[in-house]
Symmetry: C2
Subunit: 318 residues, 2 copies
């Protein structure tokens, strides 16, 4: 365990395994105290907590210990933070990406019933901007933390899996470099933790995993006293996805009275399109949807049927 | 009634009121027959069918005759189209936008219970790229047809309001100039109709109306024989929203087990943000969400809670 304080305002937390916790609990003791304006660097372990390695095969996904999945680093105590405040977390940068994985974990994911067998894909992330999904298909590397949040006001231990009013496992792909995340503060000191870093993902993360990858992340805290929000918000200062946008999109739609089922259908049609057009296996197509396809709600008012659109960026194809 | 045939392949349908129909019915007689490769120009009447004018007030929205809402022009018979084919509809261009309206119609919309009173906003659309929502807020004019589809295979009359497997009231804002829409063909000749043109809208159309506006639209048909799709698809050939993207987004989120309720919360928070930050009335904020804010599904796998993000483009503020 080692915590270095650089200059007056930057802290770096090394030895990630010593600072991991599982689930949310307001009684976890802080590993570091910072002030508004300070930045902190975290070394983040990918979401399997080391259970998956770059030589793993699909069968390793059936042996996962779920109790130690999705570890987060922290908590960090922000001085002066009180319930009713908002904690701004500016995403400064990411470093030291080496490799990543996407998996289909049996029983998990938007189309869990249709993909009962484990699947895995391993990526080389040493390229700066892109990584190969398959020959002819290159994904844009856009790192972000999948899980980022603060302690809940309720006492007790809460699973890390579902996101909640404290943020947590939001899997919001837009929390990339430069974005500011605004988290509601629920306990004194906020008790911030972060983990589950992803190298790329589509809006939806439909197979249940993104490109899961260990990396370093630097963030800067700013406390907004007396600014109260009910759920997380965030702010982008540049176009969200200029690389992916550049050549347009192929889009499938699903309609119906239930947005979840409409999303399932839109992804089913996209898998069909990827199989028919590019010769992908259905499993690869499903994983590609998870790391590259964006779900948008086209309309939510023409009762009783809503429309979901699944956007496939054409720029990923050579 | 007048139908002009220009050159060999372009048809223009004038006298829009003579060619309107209400709802979908496979037994409506076609007003025009075309071949694959032909283009057709339609003069489209905005969704109230002339009940709302540029001098209307909010109370006029309480007197709407729902039986004649959302008229569409057509149907157009595409020679050779048979069930199991796909009809491509290329969106060529839009002309003759003059004015438009956004309304809150009591009982209709994502937050119908919270906005029980009628509201209306009238726009000048004679500017080429932008229109003023309020002083200091300018929306990008990006016309598209809200309702576009083909006849259903089932006999009988079907309401125009919900979108279905035939397309219809999709309200997909991305069906702008250059987009290709792919519609499944369900009856011989396809029987294509279009209407409900919008000058601008966010993904979701949350208050129930967009910038509703009469205009001319030109489309080109192409028949894909033997290509079978279950629901509409579309294809963009350029970045979806470069103007809106340019300065980034302010984003609210809602989470929960139901994507519809999560969307409601995300929009409630966005209304709160617009009221607090820009001094809008709640009603104006709700309408602004409908014409400018995009709903995205951030994650749909971290059971039991999904996350919806509502994206407000900062570029609309001076």
């Amino acid at each position: 365990m080692s915590i270095h304080h650089h200059q007056h305002t930057h802290h770096t937390i090394h030895d990630m395994k010593a600072h991991l916790h599982y689930g949310w609990n307001r009684d976890f003791p802080p590993i570091l105290e910072v002030e508004s304006g300070h930045s902190v660097g975290f070394e983040i372990l990918e979401c399997s907590g080391g259970q998956i390695t770059k030589t793993s095969t699909a069968s390793d996904l059936t042996k996962l210990d779920f109790a130690t999945l999705n570890p987060v680093s922290g908590p960090v105590y922000v001085k002066g933070a009180e319930p009713g405040d908002t904690l701004e977390v500016e995403i400064l940068d990411f470093r030291a990406l080496e490799w990543g994985w996407t998996g289909v974990i049996p029983g998990f994911g938007l189309l869990a019933d249709e993909f009962p067998e484990p699947l895995i894909k391993i990526y080389d992330l040493t390229g700066r901007h892109k990584t190969e999904f398959l020959p002819g298909i290159e994904l844009f590397i856009k790192p972000f933390p999948g899980t980022i949040g603060v302690a809940l006001p309720e006492t007790g231990h809460f699973s890390i899996v579902p996101p909640r009013k404290n943020g947590g496992n939001l899997d919001i792909r837009h929390l990339t470099r430069g974005t500011k995340l605004y988290l509601p503060v629920w306990v004194e000191g906020a008790l911030f933790s972060v983990g589950d870093t992803h190298a790329a993902q589509g809006d939806g993360e439909v197979c249940g995993t993104a490109i899961e990858a260990s990396m370093e992340i630097n963030v800067r805290f700013k406390l907004h006293k007396g600014k109260t929000i009910a759920e997380p918000r965030y702010e982008l200062f540049a176009p969200p996805t200029p690389e992916a946008d550049s050549r347009g999109y192929y889009v499938t739609t699903g309609h119906g009275t239930d947005l979840y089922k409409a999303s399932q259908n839109a992804i089913r049609y996209m898998i069909e399109h990827l199989v028919d057009t590019y010769g992908l296996t259905p499993g690869d197509a499903y994983m590609l949807c998870s790391v590259a396809v964006d779900l948008r709600i086209s309309e939510i008012v023409d009762a009783p049927n809503w429309v979901v659109s699944a956007f496939l960026p054409k720029a990923i194809f050579k």
